[in-house]
């Protein structure tokens, strides 16, 4: 049809203005047809296999020739077998390929037992978040809990039971190991069987231990924690008759006085504390608590203080007593116990800021019943007692939570009890020592000689996930399941029991510790089945826990409901506190010499007590204060450093008595003079490629007979040792007295801050400094529909770094190692900038999470020569990894320097290609490309989550909303400082923050138009001016 039409139209046209031949000029029909068909007849025939081969056209022949050559080429080429892809024969219920499943469980990374939600893809866990329904942590989980997933896939987990031989450790069958150990246990006779463990939080595990004790009556259980609340416990026992000290309503406190207490950093349930604390600092309700921190080392809590004062830890008792006396003198309370103390003298002697102390006094008086004084775990008993008295006298008991109280299933063993164990070991009275997932050789003070004494015990069994110092001295090493491969339950406070369920079958030939003990209790190695503990747990719940719950639904229903939710609520009574019993309280002061050096040993923010030392993500997580990674150090004040004549990175020798340690020094702004702070958890040995040789083992400075506190030693000395040791920090350290650099973050309006008083007077004071938006000669792109943006409330950001780890896990961010951090090549997409202003003694600290700002006029985009970084119509600045050639021009032109470059194949670069081991690849988020060497990368605003939400919305046939997407950092932030959503979604919560009167953009004057809004921090101080 159409052919003819064209021929006709040509024929009808009398005057062709061009022609190629006379036939064409004279409109020969055949020629016209031929002209219309591009190829001559026969050339374009379809291939007909029935046709004779001789009838084949030239074109067909060439096609066949090419195809056969290609086939031959492919057939003969070296085909790399990438393994089989086998479809599910029977598809497991609930698994849809490409869609994640979530399971509620309980985190066992520390003794706080937060509820978690584990995201699995095709049966493998890839991400951990807080369980949003869990009453304690309410959807949030700390960095350690997030990074715990790396422990599951750690290539260095023990995969087989091991038995010590003359040459080392040999593989052994479970059955053989079990029967050997059962024999040893049975033959213990009157000798002790010692079980050493961390805090017991599981009621069912406690039941297992009781059964074990019943079976082997000489058993004694020693539970310990390197960092614990024992002093607080005993203080409460003395004051109120029960060691179950209360939880605190941080959210209701108007004034908080933290005495050497890092309740936002490492003490108690940090996630819960942070959330409740930040609830009390809300710009929308304009309610602000006031945080006073008096401490020796600069801590996470100290960084967030409205008023901070430096004080040596041993002076805290006198401070509280002086405070009591002064309040008594002012008539605010009536107490005669502290009449020997004078606050004025104390302030003078310890060089405290008089004005701040007066503010504190007035605030405590004005906020009776609405203030809380909190002493840290490191403080000895008498400080806690004095604090209890003061809280009681001020009526601050109101802020003790009565709805829920902490529960100790089994009290921790005291140092004396541990000493009894070592004495028995010395006297050959111990037949078997069982280490249940703990590391006493590393944790116990060296003067207990625990390591040496282990050799006197005939059978030492260590149950552990990975090799450690204790396992090295064991006859048997039994590999344990990871948290995510195990069943369990946990009760750390009244009102709730959490349940733990496995989300993946054991990756290796491992068992969970409860099953191992149950097998031994049965005295037959054949008892073991994979469901052994599962059955026991269920039975224990049915017989012991279910009745106490007084539930009206039947057990099975409750059980599966609780498994689904991750916890079961119990209606236990809360806690009530009688009046304090003042008689017989020990209120004598430990005398000390204020000129002597005090050593403070603290828990590491990153690796805890060393349990997480083999976790690269945590090792590389910058210290929240110093921003140092991969090391611990001796933090001292700049005055002390001057006196010692040392600089950052200089090696010093710290000694307490005859215990010595050489480690590098770090000059920490805000540290108390003559105080050395060292974090524990480093200097691990035999613990894998990542942990071994990282940092310094300061546990060697611990004493089993502490005079003041187990973690504070008042008789330390420090001398310059000579030599240097480079500390890898993600942020440069600048001299405080350099006028060119000082307060640059304020001069450049990177950090914009105000005070609550100023805000109340003039709520738009931030907007006054904001530059006007410049006119553009071009019409800017109109974002009429969806446009993604973020708002970060700096009032709530505490600088903990949980968001960094969450981002690492979500986005497959590699660990680069200390050498690369030293070269300033860390790969974290999100960093928390920390700025100091003021003097090095008394700095004001500002935190600022910094990530890609997804600028509307992104300077990175126009300089990329190959358009590898582009802008999406919904306002995202995108990276096209495949197109990127790695010129790094984008990074140079990024004013925020948030782009990260793969200088190496970082997964290969780490020692021994550790990160390329096949098991670690299971951990990757399949929705996020694993970047190769030479490619630029950066924060994507979790574009994979946006796309998932988009397809979900499309499936439902509704438009996507800003609230449909939560970024990984937002999800992780314990204080909900991060808000994400649609800039054009006018009725959303996010919109309020995006257009907040305290909102500003960083480097706004560059006119790059960022899409991350920062809500200026307000300090709750008594003046309008900072």
């Amino acid at each position: 049809m159409s052919d003819n039409r064209e021929v006709n139209s040509i024929q009808n046209n009398p005057d062709p203005n061009y022609w190629r031949s006379f036939e064409e000029l004279y409109r020969n029909e055949k020629t016209l047809k031929a002209r219309h068909h591009e190829f001559a007849e026969g050339v374009t025939d379809d291939f007909d296999p029935n046709e004779n081969l001789s009838g084949i056209s030239r074109r067909k022949f060439l096609a066949l020739l090419g195809a056969s050559a290609a086939l031959a080429g492919v057939a003969c080429s070296d085909y790399r077998d990438k393994g089989e892809i086998v479809p599910y024969n029977v598809k497991p219920e609930e698994i849809i390929l490409g869609r994640p499943n979530f399971y509620a469980s309980t985190c066992t990374a520390c003794a706080n037992s937060c509820g978690i939600l584990i995201k699995t893809r095709e049966g493998r866990p890839i991400k951990v978040d807080g369980n949003p329904e869990h009453p304690v942590n309410q959807g949030k989980i700390c960095a350690k809990g997030q990074a715990n997933i790396l422990n599951l896939y750690d290539p260095e987990r023990l995969q087989q039971p091991l038995k010590k031989s003359s040459t080392g450790f040999d593989n052994i069958e479970w059955k053989k190991a079990d029967s050997d150990i059962i024999a040893s246990l049975s033959m213990a006779g009157s000798k002790e069987i010692a079980i050493v463990t961390h805090t017991i939080t599981s009621p069912t595990f406690l039941k297992v231990l009781e059964d074990f004790k019943a079976k082997f009556p000489t058993t004694k259980i020693y539970s310990y924690e390197l960092f614990n609340s024992s002093a607080r416990n005993s203080a409460w026992t003395k004051c109120y008759g029960s060691g179950n000290f209360p939880l605190i309503k941080w959210n209701e406190a108007k004034v908080i006085l933290a005495l050497e207490s890092d309740f936002l950093g490492v003490e108690g349930n940090r996630v819960e504390n942070s959330r409740m604390f930040a609830e009390g600092r809300d710009v929308n309700s304009k309610s602000f608590n006031r945080l006073y921190v008096i401490e020796s080392s600069m801590t996470l809590t100290g960084m967030n203080a409205d008023y901070r004062m430096r004080l040596k830890p041993e002076a805290q008792f006198a401070f509280v007593m002086s405070l009591i006396n002064e309040l008594n003198r002012k008539g605010a309370i009536s107490a005669s116990i502290a009449s020997n103390y004078s606050l004025d003298e104390f302030v003078k002697k310890n060089n405290l800021d008089k004005e701040r102390v007066n503010h504190l006094l007035n605030d405590l008086i004005a906020n009776k019943g609405k203030a809380i004084i909190h002493a840290g775990d490191l403080m000895p008993e008498n400080v806690h007692i004095a604090v209890n008295i003061l809280n009681e006298l001020l009526g601050n008991k109101n802020l003790y939570r009565t709805d829920s109280a902490s529960v100790n299933l089994l009290n921790l063993s005291s140092l004396d009890e541990v000493k009894e164990l070592t004495d028995k070991m010395r006297n050959n009275q111990v037949a078997v020592v069982i280490h249940l997932d703990c590391n006493p050789v590393y944790h116990f003070p060296n003067d207990l000689n625990y390591k040496e004494l282990l050799t006197k015990v005939p059978t030492v069994v260590t149950l552990t996930e990975r090799m450690n110092e204790t396992a090295q001295f064991s006859s048997y090493i039994l590999p344990l399941n990871h948290n995510f491969e195990s069943w369990g339950d946990s009760k750390t406070r009244t009102g709730v029991i959490s349940l733990q369920q496995p989300v993946i079958a054991p990756l290796h030939n491992t068992r969970q510790k409860e099953s191992i003990l149950l097998t031994w209790i049965s005295t037959s190695p054949d008892t073991y089945t994979e469901t052994l503990y599962h059955d026991f747990l269920m039975k224990n719940w049915e017989t012991n826990i279910y009745p106490t719950l007084k539930s009206r639904i039947e057990f099975k229903q409750l059980w599966f409901g609780a498994l689904h939710d991750g916890f079961a609520l119990t209606n236990e009574a809360g806690q009530n506190f009688s009046s304090i019993n003042l008689t017989g309280l020990n209120l004598t002061e430990t005398k000390f010499n204020s000129e002597a050096m005090t050593l403070v040993l603290r828990e590491s923010y990153q690796v805890g007590d060393g349990r997480f030392a083999n976790n690269g993500w945590l090792q590389e997580l910058p210290h929240p204060v110093s921003k140092i990674t991969w090391d611990n150090y001796a933090a001292i004040s700049h005055n002390t450093a001057k006196a010692l004549d040392v600089q950052n990175d200089d090696l010093v020798e710290v000694s307490v008595g005859d215990r010595k340690l050489t480690l590098p020094v770090f000059i920490q702004a805000g540290n108390a003079d003559n105080t050395i702070t060292i974090e524990l958890g480093y200097g691990r040995e035999f613990s894998g490629i990542v942990a071994s040789g990282v940092g310094f083992n300061a546990n060697t400075l611990l004493s089993s007979k502490p005079e003041f506190s187990q973690w504070v030693y008042t008789n330390a000395t420090i001398i310059k040792a000579g030599g240097k040791y480079p500390l890898a920090s993600t942020q440069e350290h600048h001299a405080f007295d350099n006028p060119r650099i000082q307060d640059l973050h304020l001069k450049r309006h990177i950090i914009q801050e105000g005070t609550v008083a100023l805000y109340e007077k003039k709520s738009d004071f931030i907007q006054e400094h904001r530059p006007k938006e410049l006119e553009s000669v071009y019409t800017p792109f109109q974002y009429n529909e969806m446009k993604w943006g973020m708002a970060i409330d700096l009032n709530k950001c505490l600088g903990c770094g949980d968001c960094i780890v969450a981002c690492n896990v979500e986005n497959n961010v590699p660990v680069v190692g200390k050498d690369q951090v030293l070269k300033s090549r860390e790969m974290q997409w999100l960093r928390i900038d920390r700025y100091y202003s003021g003097s090095p003694d008394d700095p004001r600290v500002s935190m600022q999470p910094m990530l890609c700002q997804h600028c509307d006029q992104a300077p990175c985009e126009n300089v990329c020569p190959v358009v590898a970084t582009t802008h999406s119509p919904d306002g995202l600045n995108q990276m096209v990894y495949n197109r990127c050639v790695g010129t790094r021009y984008c990074s140079n032109n990024c004013p925020y320097k948030v782009r990260r470059f793969n200088f190496f194949n970082f997964r290969d670069h780490f020692r021994d290609g550790y990160q390329e081991s096949s098991i670690l690849t299971l951990m990757f988020n399949p929705e996020v490309t694993v970047r190769s060497r030479g490619v630029m990368e950066k924060c994507t605003f979790c574009v994979q989550r946006i796309e998932e939400a988009r397809s979900e919305a499309a499936r439902k046939g509704i438009p996507i909303k800003g609230t449909d997407v939560k970024t990984a950092c937002q999800e992780a932030c314990p204080t909900n400082a991060i808000h994400f959503g649609d800039i054009n979604g006018k009725d959303s919560e996010f919109y309020k923050y995006r257009n907040h009167e305290l909102g500003y953009y960083v480097l706004e004057e560059l006119n790059v138009r960022p899409n991350v809004t920062y809500i200026a921090k307000l300090r709750n101080i008594h003046t309008e001016e900072l």
Binding site: E732, R748, S824, C884, V885, K897, V935, L1003
Partner: protein
């Protein structure tokens, strides 16, 4: 001292006859290379090998072997690139602009300077490719039609670089070759070796020294000179855009194009003097590359050095005048921050030492000028280092600052580029006439018609 300004000094000293000139220039091509030649070649070859090995290892493991880090995305490789592009500028200036300005003294040095241009651009051209994270994808920078409909980004100065440098290289090469044609013919006529004759015959394109040839040649040469002249300005202008178009304080400066061009001529002349000092001695060309020529070049060095110095000062002034804190900080930080050492090396080498050229005695003293031009070379390398690294290492957010240290591989590749350059120079001296025979003949005494035995007015 009495100087007679009424008469131009002869471009060629020693009253050489035309055949003597030919003999002098062509002699190195007729003799076998001696021991010294091989020693020189082995030194430069070793450097080249060192660079090649460093580069090979960098390719294998990734450019993480270099010192580049998070704020300092560009460092020594880009410094080298700008440095070598700058070196190239002297050749084009001498051969094109001085030709158009009828500067006869250029004839003795033009050929060599042009050759150095080409070699320097070869050295320079390597760096933009190798400095990328994935050099095997360098083809992405070329706008070629493809099935993915992917196109390059014409707003990126790096892309302008691709065109600027490749154009520059092409034009320089053609210009150089055109100039060589009459000499190829001369060599063809002189040589007795069959092989050489064949090669020279091919490259001389049938040149017969006929008037017609000369007429066409002169016209073509002039056209190409006119064509190359804007390139002298444009190439380094575009290279400076790599920095000036960004928003980084210390880079984002409108003074960059002229400042870079002046700097390029400055460094290029210094490099030409560095090499010529040896060449005129070794090949007995003192009469063709005279002290007068060197003095004139030193004058250019003095002039451009002061332009560069002016730019240094003006940058500070504008930073202060702008009132932009970040801008002011960058310049203060350059002079007094962690890289102050580099800054003061730059200032002393580029601004202070060349001032000695105000004195005629120093301008005409070979040892003095040699020391100064070496310092200028060093100083100009540091100028690019200061611009590139000190601006990046401390930019807007103090939280992202970091110090940059080059590694062994950075330095190995830098030395390798010198190795490549000098290897090419050394090979050139033995394979092609280092001075344009035909042009020198044309400016020799008595070669041109004169009035009253004097020079043509």
């Amino acid at each position: 001292m009495h100087i007679d300004y009424s008469q131009e000094a002869p471009a060629i000293a020693g009253r050489l006859t035309i055949s003597q000139i030919e003999e002098l220039v062509a002699r190195p091509l007729d003799t076998k290379p001696d021991r010294k030649y091989f020693i020189a070649l082995s030194i430069s070859g070793s450097l080249l090998l060192l660079g090649a090995i460093c580069l090979g290892i960098s390719f294998y493991y990734g450019i993480g072997l270099w010192g580049n880090n998070q704020p300092v995305g560009w460092a020594v490789p880009i410094v080298n690139f700008v440095f070598w592009v700058g070196i190239g500028h002297a050749g084009t200036l001498i051969s094109a602009i001085l030709f158009l300005l009828r500067q006869k003294w250029r004839t003795g040095i033009a050929r060599f300077a042009e050759a150095m241009t080409i070699f320097a651009v070869i050295c320079a051209g390597i760096f933009p490719i190798i400095h990328t994270g994935r050099p095997w994808l360098a083809g992405y920078l070329i706008p070629y039609p493809n099935q993915h409909s992917l196109w390059v980004n014409f707003t990126s100065p790096l892309l302008w670089d691709v065109f600027a440098v490749s154009t520059y290289f092409t034009v320089s090469l053609v210009f150089w070759y055109i100039g060589l044609i009459p000499d190829f013919a001369t060599l063809r006529d002189r040589t007795t070796s069959k092989l050489k004759k064949t090669i020279y015959s091919i490259f001389s394109l049938g040149w017969r020294h006929s008037s017609r040839h000369w007429q066409h040649y002169e016209k073509a040469y002039m056209l190409l000179a006119g064509f190359a002249t804007p390139l002298v300005l444009s190439v380094h202008t575009i290279v400076s855009f790599d920095f000036a178009v960004s928003i980084l304080p210390g880079w984002h400066t409108t003074i960059f194009p002229p400042y870079f061009v002046a700097g390029a001529i400055f460094s290029g002349f210094a490099m030409v003097v560095t090499v010529l000092v040896f060449v005129r001695k070794i090949f007995n060309l003192e009469n063709i590359i005279t002290l007068d020529h060197l003095e004139k070049m030193n004058k250019v060095i003095l002039a451009t050095g002061m332009m560069v110095g002016y730019a240094y000062g003006m940058e500070f002034f504008i930073a202060w005048y702008s009132g932009v804190q970040a801008e002011q900080f960058v310049f203060i930080n350059r002079a007094f921050g962690p890289y102050a050492w580099a800054y003061w090396i730059m200032v002393s080498c580029n601004v202070i030492f060349p001032q000695l050229f105000w004195f005629r005695k120093f301008r005409r003293s070979i040892p003095v000028m040699f020391v100064i031009v070496i310092l200028v070379n060093v100083g100009m390398w540091f100028e690019r280092f200061v611009i590139t690294v000190t601006s990046l290492h401390r930019d807007f957010l103090p939280s992202s600052w970091a110090y940059y240290k080059p590694t062994f591989f950075d330095m190995g590749i830098l030395l390798g580029s010198f190795g490549l350059f000098f290897t090419l120079v050394i090979l050139f001296t033995k394979s092609l006439p280092v001075v344009s025979i035909s042009e020198v003949k044309a400016v020799a005494d008595g070669a041109q018609p004169t009035h009253r035995g004097g020079h043509h007015e």
